[in-house]
């Protein structure tokens, strides 16, 4: 049981979490605001100190170029000041970057935990409309993509603006005319920006994103359907589709790049050091030859002038990352903003475990109703079998009981209390379920069975496993009940379903919801499910999506569902007598059953003849 925490203390953390969820990203950053401030301040100091060696060269130049003897002491003082400045820069920028990355580290963990918490509260129904891959990407890659936002932006972006500003002020004091000339490349670069933002460019960028999406989809299709792809003529179709997607994408990319590259190249040219130096030198030569500027005054422009282009370069350079980060934050927020199914402020304890559905309607999306006015009572101590064609709403109906969704209209009551009024922990203690889509955790067998009962007695776990007909198989595993599933051993679909059944049996809840399709994994599982249905009985309320005709025949009540409505409802005998939909269904499939029963009789005879 060590691998999974007991559930105690849940309340305390959850209320804090509730406060954080819904407000998005900001609360997660708030505890780090002083660290961010430190990152910025250290970075500014470091960056400004970085100007010292350049100024030292300038001062050296003034000392050397001034007429008269050179003041040795002054020269050495300037040299030392430059060296010290470099050292300060090293220490401060390193510290800033170090702190920034560590904060980023903490924030990423906080983001991921918050996302896990948020996902753990989102309505189960919400997941059915998302792909697991997409959500995993949010928790993993999108959180990582926030990195530049936190680790780099605050320090580096500020420095990219503060240093040029300081340089600019200094240069103005030296010579305002040459300062203006030095700014020419910056102005030229900024003039390029609107060219990159024209509607045509933006459209091309959107097309680029879209065609990249098409590629991803066609690859998924290609890979997922590979067996089909291969078994039908070498996969021409999917392969062709992939190639078309590639051609489209490359075409879009090329168009975008071709249109953009002259502009980008122009921008890079005017920002390149040789060009800036050329501009400064032309201006300097003009001013010096006309005698209106001292030659030594040219030096600061040669050294600091190049730095003036930094903000433009930083904007261009960090832009893509920043935009990617912003998009990632958007996706993270979207997940954090998902409203959990509301928990009752004043939970009411259900009395007993009679289940009642009152005029229940449900739609996954819009007004396409999957359930259209279901009225149904499940009495304790009875088995209710649901039958109906696929798409009739069976799966949706049974999933309302463990509150995977709330009905869009009407209500589901347990022990006379609306599910929405019942504390979710209490609800899960009362309702357990076995559906077909079993997912085992990469944890020990015991942990997997005892998932709902954290401090289960090992004997109880074994008893549940025996009942679910999986005990013997577990003993065959390398480390028996301690075997980690997925690492030390793989289980087949049927075996996984028996583990899930053991899980439900151990939970020992008074209401059991079961999808009998589970039983068809293999004969052992079928036996286990039958065993469960027979043994459990007692006072339990059992609702089963029936697949086997025996189950239907043995049920206390049969509900025939069609198009989201109950078309027939009663005991199997009553329904047969009524000669309606159920009777028709029964007759049309009895032949199949007869087949099966005949064969089974053969089995038994074989047994007996032994």
């Amino acid at each position: 049981m060590n691998a999974i925490d007991p559930a105690e203390g849940e309340r305390a953390t959850s209320s804090a979490a509730e406060a954080a969820a819904g407000q998005g990203v900001k609360p997660l950053l708030r505890p780090h605001r002083w660290s961010f401030a430190a990152v910025v301040v250290l970075q500014i100091i470091g960056a400004l100190a970085g100007l010292a060696p350049l100024l030292a060269v300038v001062e050296l130049g003034r000392a050397l170029l001034s007429p008269g003897p050179v003041d040795h002491d002054h020269v050495w003082f300037v040299v030392i000041a430059g060296a010290v400045g470099l050292f300060v820069r090293l220490v401060f920028t390193s510290a800033s970057s170090g702190i920034g990355h560590l904060v980023d580290n903490h924030v990423q963990l906080a983001f991921r935990r918050q996302l896990a918490l948020g996902l753990g509260r989102a309505p189960i129904g919400w997941f059915s409309r998302r792909r697991t891959g997409e959500l995993t990407k949010v928790v993993q890659e999108d959180v990582s993509a926030v990195h530049p936002f936190i680790a780099h932006t605050p320090g580096e972006l500020v420095a990219a603006f503060v240093v040029p500003l300081a340089s600019l002020i200094y240069l103005f004091t030296v010579d305002w005319r040459l300062t203006l000339i030095t700014l020419i490349p910056v102005v030229l670069a900024i003039a390029h920006v609107p060219l990159m933002m024209t509607p045509a460019r933006i459209r091309e960028e959107k097309e680029f994103d879209a065609s990249l999406g098409v590629i991803a989809n066609s690859v998924v299709e290609f890979v997922q359907g590979i067996a089909v792809v291969k078994s039908f003529g070498g996969g021409e179709r999917a392969h062709r589709r992939f190639r078309t997607a590639v051609d489209d994408f490359v075409g879009t990319f090329l168009r975008w790049v071709t249109n953009l590259s002259p502009i980008a190249a122009g921008m890079k040219l005017v920002l390149s050091p040789p060009f800036v130096l050329l501009v400064v030198l032309i201006g300097g030569t003009l001013l010096i030859t006309s005698g209106s500027m001292a030659p030594a005054d040219l030096l600061p422009f040669l050294l600091l002038g190049l730095g003036l282009t930094a903000p433009v370069a930083a904007l261009g350079h960090g832009f893509d990352d920043m935009r990617a980060a912003a998009r990632a934050v958007g996706r993270i927020k979207e997940v954090l903003d998902v409203k959990p199914l509301p928990e009752p402020a004043r939970p009411v304890a259900p009395q007993g475990h009679r289940v009642e559905l009152r005029d229940v309607r449900f739609a996954y999306e819009g007004d396409h109703e999957v359930l259209r006015g279901i009225d149904l009572v499940l009495e304790p101590g009875t088995v209710t079998a649901i039958v109906g064609p696929s798409g009739s709403g069976k799966s949706t109906l049974v999933r309302l009981l463990p509150r995977f969704f709330d009905p869009t209209h009407g209500s589901v009551l347990l022990g006379g209390v609306d599910l929405r009024e019942i504390d979710s922990r209490e609800l899960y203690r009362k309702v357990s379920f076995v559906f077909q889509d079993v997912r085992l955790l990469r944890a020990s067998v015991t942990d997997n069975i005892a998932l709902a009962v954290p401090h289960a007695d090992p004997d109880d776990v074994v008893r549940a496993a025996r009942l679910a007909n999986i005990h013997d198989r577990i003993l065959e595993l390398p480390r028996g009940y301690d075997t980690v599933i997925g690492e030390e051993a793989e289980l087949s679909g049927g075996e996984a379903q028996r583990i899930a059944l053991a899980r439900a049996l151990l939970a020992d809840a008074p209401v059991l919801v079961l999808d009998e399709a589970t039983a068809f994994a293999d004969p052992q599982t079928e036996w286990a499910v039958r065993q469960a249905l027979t043994t459990l009985g007692g006072d339990r309320t059992i609702l089963v999506i029936a697949h086997r005709l025996e189950t239907i025949a043995d049920a206390d009540t049969v509900v025939v569902l069609e198009g989201g409505e109950i078309v027939e409802h009663g005991s199997p005998a009553e329904l047969l007598a009524r000669d309606g939909r159920f009777a028709e269904f029964w007759r049309s499939h009895r032949s199949a059953v007869a087949d099966e029963i005949e064969t089974r009789a053969g089995v038994l005879q074989g047994e007996q003849s032994q």
Binding site: I4, D5, V57, V223, I226, R442, L451, A452, D522, Q610
Partner: protein, 571 residues
Amino acid sequence: MIRMLLRVLGPEYARAMRRTVALMTVTAIAEGLSYALLVPVLRELFGDTPSNAVPWLIGFGAGVAVCAVLRYMSELSGFRVGTTLLRGMYYRLGDHLARLPIGWYGRDRVGEVSVMASRGLLQAMSVAAHLLGPFVSAMVTPLTIVAVMIAFNWQLGLAALLGAPIVALIQIWTARSIASTDAARHERDKEASGRVIEYLQAQPVLRVGGRTGERFTLLDNALKEVQRAARRTVLSALPGIVGMTLTVQAIFTALLVLGAYLVLGGTIGAAEILTILVLAARCAEPLLSLSEMGGKLRAARAQLARLDTVLRTEPLPEPGRPVEPRHHDLRFESVTFRRGDRTVLDDLSLTVPEGQRLAVVGPSGAGKSTLLQVLARFFDVDAGAVRIGGVDVREISTQELMRRIAIVFQDVYLFDGTIEENVRLGRPDADDAEVRAAATAARLDEVIERLPGGWEAKVGEGGALLSGGERQRVAIARALLKDAPIVLLDEVTSALDPLNEAAVHEGIERLMAGRTVVMVTHRMRTVKSADRVVFLDGGRIVEEGSHDELLRRGGRYADFWAISMAPVTSE
């Protein structure tokens, strides 16, 4: 890195790549050389007759212009090569993926490959388009400048040159230490992703136990591990970055001190020393940007390595002289197949005469599905041979083999298109009447009638908009249309409700008629229609015979069915 890039690219693109790198190098050298002209310009400007600088300045201007043209050319060439590469790589990856054995495609491969084929490839190829240019110029330009410095003053130039090996050493050392922590981090990331997927998919059950958010320790631990690994990466990168900055700054300081010493001693003129210091400042910046670029290069490199692994995975060999089987009887001759160190099929022999039906029954993990997979050559066997009409499947071309086999799986994958498109996949040149006939035979017509849009109804990604039984019917119609002489069925009716099962069963019967069939099943009804049954356990045939024979024998096979008949004990 470059070597891996060239290998991934393959010989046809490698040359264009090399040309681009050469062009970038020339550009960087030209930029460095153009700075040489700064020396005379500044000497004149700082001297007595500043106007003498003008011709030199014009020279410098010309130099800058040449650099600009070269730079534009190399950038354009980078983009061109990058784009051609991108298309080529996509094609190469696509072709390769199509040739890889189906067995290679495990469950987690889907996600991995699709990320690789979309963003991963783009990131790897961005090396050519965006990173290589700056990287080359950050390395080459400073070196050229140092050469220029040596030409003008050997003491200062030499002092600057001393830094080169140190910078190189630090680069290499940092790359190594980061590579190891990066690998660890990637491992943790993968582990955490697995846990996130598990957490998402197991939500319903986890909630029952109140294990959400931090209460679900398995996930939380994985997330904390990711954090620790990331912190280790940061810490291991820090000495490199600090060391790099320290070295570059130390060299600059050394030049400053040495310059001051030389100029005060009168060995060098004021203009020269100032010019050299301006040049030195020019060197420092690109060098410092190297460590920043390193991070991006590493990310691209990791993608490249993943791409390299996939591209180096061998597809199943195609026969040099393909043979066409004349008959369609099936034979396994002492077939052994291993997955990792587990023997899935163990010296298995069996035959299915043409036109007969064989049912394969057995407990989970007995190797039933694998038997079908080696027959369709999703994998090659480790020992023995699988023969169709006496011809080893490895002697038959993939296309020919696939033309002869129709497979229906338990999980049917449909392409995101209309029902008609999906059925037609069975035989693209079939006429409408044939498609309709196949649909009717598979009882797909009922489904089509019910769906809004009928034949034109979209089935959604993977067929998600249809129920399991409906997807089965599409798959059966597809197989009927294909009209292949061999039919393989894998647990086709296992998870269907009675209504669907009856319909699917009917379709299956029509599909099997007159064909050679191997079916894995545990529905007794299906088994009974087989001519012969083999009971498989642990990769071996335990029992073999007709259904009735085996039942009478009262062995493993009879036991297997008995359990589903056994009376349930009540506690």
